[in-house]
Assembly symmetry: C2
Homo-oligomer: 295 residues x 2
Amino acid sequence: MNFNEVLDRKVKETEKIIEGYLPRETGYQKTVIEAMNYSFKSGGKRLRPLFMREFYMLFGGGKKVIEYFMAAIEMIHTYSLIHDDLPAMDNDEYRRGRKTTHIVYGEAMGILAGDGLLNLAFETVSNSFDVFDNPVKIGKAIQILGKKAGIYGMIGGQCADIESEGKDIAQDKLMFIHLKKTAALLEASMTIGALLAGASDNEIEIVEQIAQDVGLAFQIQDDILDVVSTTEELGKPVGSDEKNQKTTFVTMAGFEEAAKEVERLSKRAQDNLSALGKESSFISELIGSLINRKK
Amino acid sequence: MNFNEVLDRKVKETEKIIEGYLPRETGYQKTVIEAMNYSFKSGGKRLRPLFMREFYMLFGGGKKVIEYFMAAIEMIHTYSLIHDDLPAMDNDEYRRGRKTTHIVYGEAMGILAGDGLLNLAFETVSNSFDVFDNPVKIGKAIQILGKKAGIYGMIGGQCADIESEGKDIAQDKLMFIHLKKTAALLEASMTIGALLAGASDNEIEIVEQIAQDVGLAFQIQDDILDVVSTTEELGKPVGSDEKNQKTTFVTMAGFEEAAKEVERLSKRAQDNLSALGKESSFISELIGSLINRKK
């Protein structure tokens, strides 16, 4: 099997695992559950649970506990998209070719569905105490999840991002936004995978650096693609960053510098991955394919 | 000291404890933290952390672990108020005489501040693993928190409530809304307090029943007050339920039946409290004062 076939299989496996943690659409609260599941099932690359599982297996993990965290990280990612799409935020009517949650279910239910998924993420991981006999490790994993998703992670990045629209911002603030808004959940995914499988503190630090570099490179590549892609290829209006007067690494440092930075981050991530001294060819190819993607 | 003096002192103690868990207003994410703290500090009776602490002490608890959960339950209560006040939800400009969060900080930041508090609640309790040597109990407490705050608790009630506005609804749906929207967080407060202090399963069940009865009675009393109060006394427009064509226990069963139901629930809660066989005179008076309040 070539890389794309393996990836396809692994994405399907991931999808099957995480969808097993979705709530049944029943009871007086049926509508909010439908809205949550609608958003959760609307596709996407499932990168976060996929990476989490890969790093879990890389360090020899083989238990059910990881599934709870895989579902939770995708729930958190999904809630952030629902709330990002709201009229008061990015006001998007479509995502991945489907109508966004608040368009289908109304704005109030969109807010509630996001809240529901964020809450369900932590509820789900708290249920993993029932299947795993190392509660201290679960505690640490929940700590990482909370930190990387919250005001010192993703939400912090969203705040800075909202306040920066239409403004010239300095490079360190831009890096803060990228690191928090994009890289933080990847860091949570990869480090939780490593941690729960029993990786050492030193190994977890290396994994965190890999995640940061991949997240940053992915975001800068996204900014590059925003400029060069056609609407048809990307499925969203071209140059939307420019339209929103958004400062990006590309508008700041120029196209060529941006491409070089992606290259530099990518190389460091791959070097660190090799330094772990494990069979990581799939992860390596996955990182390569993400960073060098053309759409 | 009379009851009101003791209550006043305990509310102040509670306030001091939970405010110690608020994040510092610094960094590029400063604004969202300010919005979170603004909402959190806007007063209120701190009933949930107060009840949690009282039930913790009732069962002999005396450790720091409870503080993390006290802060968390108030964060969850606060986030739910911020999101409830949003234009797409109840569209309220004032709460407790102060401008609501989205009025002061804008709608996007209001959404984010709510998300931030919900996330911080779970982040905060996950940090309690560092100070308490019974991780399994913490795990159970987090489970309760997630369940009572989520789609099988408060969010479930909010969903049913939103869908019921302007409609005639059956009594069992109304009870579902009250139980989930109002009682669920009280149940979490009291049972987590009991659990972390080492109460038995049987005792925790009794405590949960007390919380349910108090929550229901409190809500029905609220509906009664909505009809009888003057705007000045209550600080919100009178008869707002009627204005919103909201079905309540009062509109459904009539004033007299509603008052009788409050009486019945109150008596059962007090009987159950006595059945625990502990020195609970303060809790008993607190429940009495809440249910019989005139505003």
